[in-house]
């Protein structure tokens, strides 16, 4: 089914992006979707002063939680274990998949129903399960559509945002047995509901992500609108939650502000339809709920981000997707062009830790540093600063690049570096600068007509006949 996109080389990033930019239908659907999400968010924050205060609090809570991360993880583990939830640790995607398959095999599980989980996308759980002969079906409507189409989500909150209802109607008619073409959204949703209902009732394991984990009570918080998250965590006999190690907060009272920031920033809702707080498996005497609850805590490069004081702020993220909704680049190229699980600005800053900078540095360069992402980020991640930092890491001399980011120095070119050093010197020394500009204006006929990336979209640059300085002196 889905092909892993992990290994799509970055140099194809430009071609994928180009293809989307040249597709007017996609342009229209992304623009429409982003305008919709931007307006919905804005309507939720009518009072800017209140918004800034709430963002301050959100940022403070996330930074505080990260400052105590190893302690909170230990408290969380102890509390969850006491509550009867089994905690597993995974350093790599392979670890996570292996743990999952062991849980499934120990129970003889054949079918898994999945609530929405970006971390399960990150480890490509569906692939691993399929290879182990276990059926894995997505139940979030957007994820279900994307899975039917053998694609990957193009947005972390709205996975099928790149598809029109007509495309989805055609997909349903073609892929779901016994379904006739209809482009009524209500009917399409009812078709999905019907197919998936049977699966909820019969699946052995329900999978979910986690939005926030609370250390003091040992609670997993899940936010959703459809009810598939509740279904996946209530109906099957076993519930396996999978998430990144950074998603923990200390106190229950840290949840409401983050929850409010999350849902308002993500989809412009004061609160989602359901907020689901799970603290244990079914207790004796209770009438329903899973007998077993497991939590898989995934590292996958997060400890690398954590180790650097500046890059650590990447882990403040609560995955609302507001940065992509407001990104002029994301709006034009869509989520698939990035080739990574997490697209958009957050994808640019988290992917290098998950996959290495060598395969992802091009993403960090695809930004005008306009700062829209940082302006809307509910927990104030300084995304443009992190992009500059990652660019710097990528272009460092590999010999002296250090170990802050795996793959640092992979974009290094000694010629380019020499040119930049020359450029810097020219601007540092006035005599050199004057000499350079004097020569440039005299030798302007030598300017190449093809100037790399610049002339792909612009007229070639040429020095003026007379320097600005000369015109000032002799108007």
């Amino acid at each position: 089914m889905n092909q892993p996109l992990h290994f799509v080389p970055s140099d194809e990033f430009r071609q994928r992006a180009q293809a989307v930019v040249e597709n007017p239908a996609l342009q229209k659907s992304f623009r429409g979707a982003m305008d919709f999400l931007q307006n919905k968010r804005l309507a939720q924050f009518p009072d800017d002063v209140a918004l800034q205060r709430l963002r301050d609090l959100g940022e403070a809570i996330r930074q505080y939680s990260l400052s105590k991360l190893p302690d909170l993880l230990e408290t969380l583990e102890a509390k969850l274990t006491a509550n009867g939830i089994q905690v597993h640790w995974a350093e790599t995607p392979e670890d996570a998949n292996r743990i999952f398959i062991e849980i499934a095999q120990a129970q003889g599980a054949r079918a898994v129903i999945k609530g929405k989980s970006m971390v399960s996308e990150e480890v490509e759980l569906n692939h691993a399960l399929q290879a182990a002969g276990i059926e894995a079906l997505e139940s979030d409507m957007g994820e279900y559509i994307v899975q039917l189409a053998d694609e990957k989500p193009s947005h972390i909150i709205m996975p099928a945002i790149h598809k029109t209802k007509v495309e989805i109607a055609e997909l349903f008619a073609e892929r779901i047995p016994g379904v006739d073409y209809t482009d009524s959204v209500d009917e399409l949703i009812q078709i999905g509901r019907k197919v998936l209902r049977d699966k909820f009732a019969t699946a052995d394991i329900g999978v979910s992500g986690v939005n926030l984990m609370v250390a003091e009570t040992g609670t997993l918080c899940l936010v959703e609108n459809e009810g598939n998250g509740r279904m996946s965590t209530t109906v099957p006999r076993i519930h396996v939650a999978i998430t990144g190690i950074e998603k923990v907060v200390e106190k229950l009272t840290h949840v409401p502000p983050l929850l409010s920031l999350l849902t308002r920033s993500a989809t412009g809702q004061a609160i989602t339809t359901y907020v689901n707080m799970i603290s244990s498996p079914r207790k004796p005497g209770e009438l329903d709920g899973p007998d077993e609850v497991h939590l898989i805590l995934l590292d996958n490069g997060r400890t690398q981000a954590y180790a650097d004081p500046q890059l650590r702020s990447t882990l403040q993220c609560i995955r609302c997707g507001a940065c992509m909704n407001h990104c002029p680049v994301y709006t034009r190229i869509g989520g698939h062009a990035y080739g990574t699980t997490y697209p958009g600005p957050i994808g640019k800053i988290i992917s290098p830790h998950l996959l290495g900078l060598d395969s992802t540095y091009a993403l960090a360069t695809a930004s005008t540093l306009c700062g829209a992402c940082a302006e809307v980020c509910p927990v104030r991640i300084p995304i443009p600063d992190l992009l500059i930092r990652l660019r710097t890491e990528a272009y460092k001399n590999p010999a002296t690049a250090g170990e802050a980011v795996r793959g640092a120095g992979s974009a290094y070119s000694s010629v380019a570096m020499a040119l930049w050093h020359g450029w810097a010197a020219t601007y540092r020394y006035p005599t050199l600068y004057r000499l350079f500009t004097w020569c440039a204006s005299r030798l302007r006929f030598l300017t190449p007509r093809k100037q790399g990336g610049w002339t792909r979209n612009h007229v070639a640059m040429q020095p003026a006949k007379r320097r600005f300085r000369d015109r000032l002196n002799r108007p």
Binding site: S29, G32, L37, R53, A60, I61, Q63, Y64, S67, K68, L69, H88, W89, A90, E91, D140, M141, G142, M158, P159, A160, K163, T164, K165, I168, V185, I189, R193, R197, A201, E216, T217, E226, G227, R230, M231, I245, E250, K251, L252, T253, V255, P256, A270, I271, T272, T273, Y274, V275, M277, I278, S279, K283, E286, L287, D288, G289, L297, T303, A307
Partner: protein, 219 residues
Amino acid sequence: MSQQAIRQRILEKLRAAQAAPLACPDAEVFYKESMEDQPTRVERLMLHMKNAMAEVHRSSAADLGSCLNRICSDKQVQLLAVAPELLSDSALCEHLSQQLQMLPVTQCHVDQEALFNTVDAGLTLTHGGIAETGTLVLWSGDESPRMLSLVPPVHIAILHASCVVESLMDMMIREKWSTGLPTNVVLISSPSKTADIQQTLAYGAHGPKQLVVVLVEDR
């Protein structure tokens, strides 16, 4: 590598990079006690819920049975799954059973087959309500199964007006949630919905297509 070794490695990497902990932010002070009186607060909850496409009704404690019967006949509910927490109210049950069939959700199991296939509506109590966002709070427990508010196409929830508070934070603090939570707490603010197809809102995605709130004014 063993589980234990992986755990150790992750924690060691984090510990090696850990600086001094920051000061703990006080999230509680952010949520001011509102000066509103209870009736106004309840009105706000009801308005939010109505705007979120929930159906809202009011009833006195004495009239609850007939109010529920009216709702059920209006929705052509024939088989109603009633949460065990309500079964002890024999007057209410008698009232309901005059008109419709009640699924015996006994104290030892939930009939999953029936819930998925034949039950028309689930009837539950609620733990409380949140005015700020128009939200019902449901706590799971021995007599409060989770599926009744999730699986049948209609969820009817009884909310006592005195249990409405201003915010989630308010409820957490007043009731000392940090000292222990039940297996499951769920906040419900509308019928199940999705906008995953071309940002078009559709109701009845995976959970109930209709959410009916019956506010009981207990004086």
